[in-house]
Amino acid sequence: MATETDPQTGPGDATGETRTPFGEVSRLSGIVFEYLTLAASMFGILSLGILLSYVFWDAFGLETADPVWYAVLVGTVGLPLVGQALYARRNPVAGEVALELGSTLLGGVLAGLALVVVLEVIAGSEVWFAYFLTTVLPLGSLYVYGQRNEATWVGLAALGVLIVGPAIGTAALDPLTTVAGLFGGPGIYLLSMVLPAALLCRYLVGEFLELGNGDYAAGATLALAVVGIPVVDTVGVARSVWLLFLVALVMPFGIVVAKTLAVPERRVGFVAPAVIIVGIGLLAVLPETVGVAGPSPWFDWQYVTSNPSRFADQAGLYPAIIGSVFMIVAVAILTLIVGVGTAVYLEEYAPSSGIAASVVRLIRINISNLAGVPSVVYGLLGLAVFANTLRLGFGTVVTAAFTLSLLILPIVIISSREAIRSVPDSLRDASYGMGATRWQTVRNVVMPRAIPGILTGTILALGRAIGETAPLIMIGVATSIYSTPSGLFDKISAMPMQIFVWASFPGEEFQYGVLAAGVVTLLVVLLTMNSIAILLRNKFERSEI
């Protein structure tokens, strides 16, 4: 460094070179790079945003709405929302409460819908009863026992129940469903859902949150269930649906409301949700009374509850929604068990030296490669192995679930491995150093820290699976189907298949209306799945402190 200031000669010596000590250093390339990356991300976000706006515009039929309707929309929903947002900045507690109430409400509705779809539409209450008795009830009892007592055998017993329970339930399905028939649907839910929920309510209100007398809360839940029955009879809602929604929506919402009421400074949080709910009600009523045309959405209640049709007005996505949800639940169970199991083995148990290690390394590399195989190839595999060789049927739930599971397994394994590897070795050392067995270490130290990451990766992969079309075409999934599946071997349709076939229908109504509504439905299901994953992840991240 000839220009380095030499203390003996000082700056500006014989060479004539001087160095400006505080001059500007060129950052040109850095600035160019910064704006290039900004442009790249803006390009992606904008193009996706424009596409989605088109889809939503079509799906909700917004072009038919009168300008006055938009004014009412802004007045009744938009302004209160903005007001709430501004107020929440000044009073974070209000925002927090509003968010809690809103998410409980929305989550309750979604959970209720999911329960109704899974228990009423797909399985039937008698089948639920069989598995409740053999699996859910023992597991729940073991969990409660494990929470109250220090017992190491509980975990093993739970694992046993998880394996044996469903097997017994399946074997004894006939006698158990006959017994269940004696209770009837509402009776089953009263026993298997409302009663445990009331007990949970008693614990939450009485012990965990300490809001008041838990017995009263449990009694109120049971009383509400019974009192609600004549009410829903007159309204025309099925009793089973009422009981399921009581458990999924009414009880949690009631607890959140009680929790909020208990703290005076949190009560202000009720204002915003109330105003917004009233606003939505006004929006539904006002324009009609004034005589202003609202939007005529394709995406409406009729759409999500009807079968497909050749008439655009009557077309619906119901069987495809049920098919997709059923399939994705099966895929989720399969991939979580197989994928997380593989990842745990590869990271925690697999040998790291010798010949066995080379085999393991080969497996690891190949799993990574499998993640890049085109989905249509997996479709071909599903067709050959599951549909033809194993005779699981063309286009059935089980074939589709196996095929899509294979498709996303590599992604689930890779992301789960990353999550497990991110658990610091120092924690493993600490656990082993205490004399923990490998299983105890995995169970108590590794998994609690890895679960948030595992869930994130799995949900992203499931999102890919639910939108997948090519492998479904290969295994012969029907494009349109007019009944909902009620068992693993029933034929299904899936949302992307139905959307795909609508794109080829003649007529603008299908191409621009029904199709767009289908895309919106798919996105809603996807976003719901993602938000459930985020909620679960946050819960686990918080629970480990």
Partner: protein
């Protein structure tokens, strides 16, 4: 368990005149563990290594190490980085088993039983030999759950609250955390975290506590607290500590083992003698800072 309790009682009865912590803090000269009056207890050998070699694949990490660690004393292992002192420590509770590439030859006896015998379960061994690591590594759980962890996984009966309090008291942490047992162990300061790790290790009443540079990531004040604690632990447990800090070894240990590069044990003996009058020139060079 009962054996362990016996050990503790003998320790206490033979420990005639332990200097108090205050006295030690006042004295400016380097006090070695030998001067604190534990020598009387240090009779029996609890850990004995006979010609122990350790290989990582083909790399030799320990070269023919033989030594005898006395019961109820603090034994320090010093030496430059990579000299094999941590490897030796990890042999004692078979933590090296977790490294597939590691291979141990020779005999390592704990209470006259070779821990590398086929009928020794390393998990059971580690329940008798506790370990504290270089970086404080509390679990991301509450303080209470951290201390209770060992007792839970070992299925130990008894009053858990009592055991947790006892362990925290013995680790000199109780007064600082007794009102916040539900708080995460990670919210504590580095020194407190390390004392929490020590509490976690002694909550299951091990016979030996191994410490792998327990104070190297801590500031001087936290280090001095840990050193005081080690001194007190030696009343009940056999402590084997690896350290980079020679003054620390001189302050807290009764016996010192000097490892030099190549995994060789150069000298082993009373700390006083090693630091004042070592037999080997290399040891003297290392201790006086001429090399290493």
């Amino acid at each position: 368990m009962s054996k362990n309790e016996n050990t503790i009682t003998t320790e206490e009865s033979t420990d005639a005149d332990p200097k108090t912590t205050d006295e030690k803090l006042i004295s400016t000269e380097v006090t070695t563990g030998t001067e604190t009056g534990r020598t009387a207890a240090g009779g029996r050998t609890i850990i004995e290594a006979r010609n122990v070699d350790v290989y990582y694949d083909d790399l030799r990490a320990l070269d023919d190490v033989s030594l005898q660690i006395p019961e109820g004393q603090v034994t320090a292992m010093i030496g430059p980085s990579g000299c094999g002192k941590s490897t030796f420590l990890r042999c004692i509770n078979r933590m090296n088993d977790l490294v597939d590439a590691a291979r141990v030859e020779g005999d390592l006896l704990l209470k006259n039983k070779n821990v590398y015998d086929d009928d020794v379960d390393p998990v059971a061994l580690r329940r008798r030999v506790g370990m504290v690591f270089q970086e404080p590594n509390p679990f991301p759980k509450s303080i209470y759950d951290n201390v209770a962890y060992g007792r839970r996984i070992q299925g130990l009966d008894g009053d858990m609250d009592e055991a947790v309090e006892q362990a925290l008291r013995r680790a000199a942490l109780w007064d600082e955390v007794k009102d916040q047992l539900d708080k995460s162990g990670l919210d504590l300061s580095g020194g407190q975290q390390q004392r929490l790790c020590i509490a976690r290790a002694i909550a299951v009443d091990p016979e030996v506590v191994l410490m792998d540079e327990p104070a190297s990531a801590l500031d001087p004040i936290a280090t001095s607290k840990i050193e005081d604690l080690i001194d007190e632990l030696a009343e009940e447990y056999t402590v084997v500590i690896v350290t980079h800090n020679m003054q620390q070894a001189a302050r807290i240990s009764d016996k010192t083992a000097v490892f030099l590069t190549g995994g060789e044990l150069i000298e082993f003996g009373d700390t006083e003698k090693i630091f004042e009058n070592p037999e080997h020139q290399r040891v003297e060079d290392y201790i006086t800072g001429k090399f290493g």
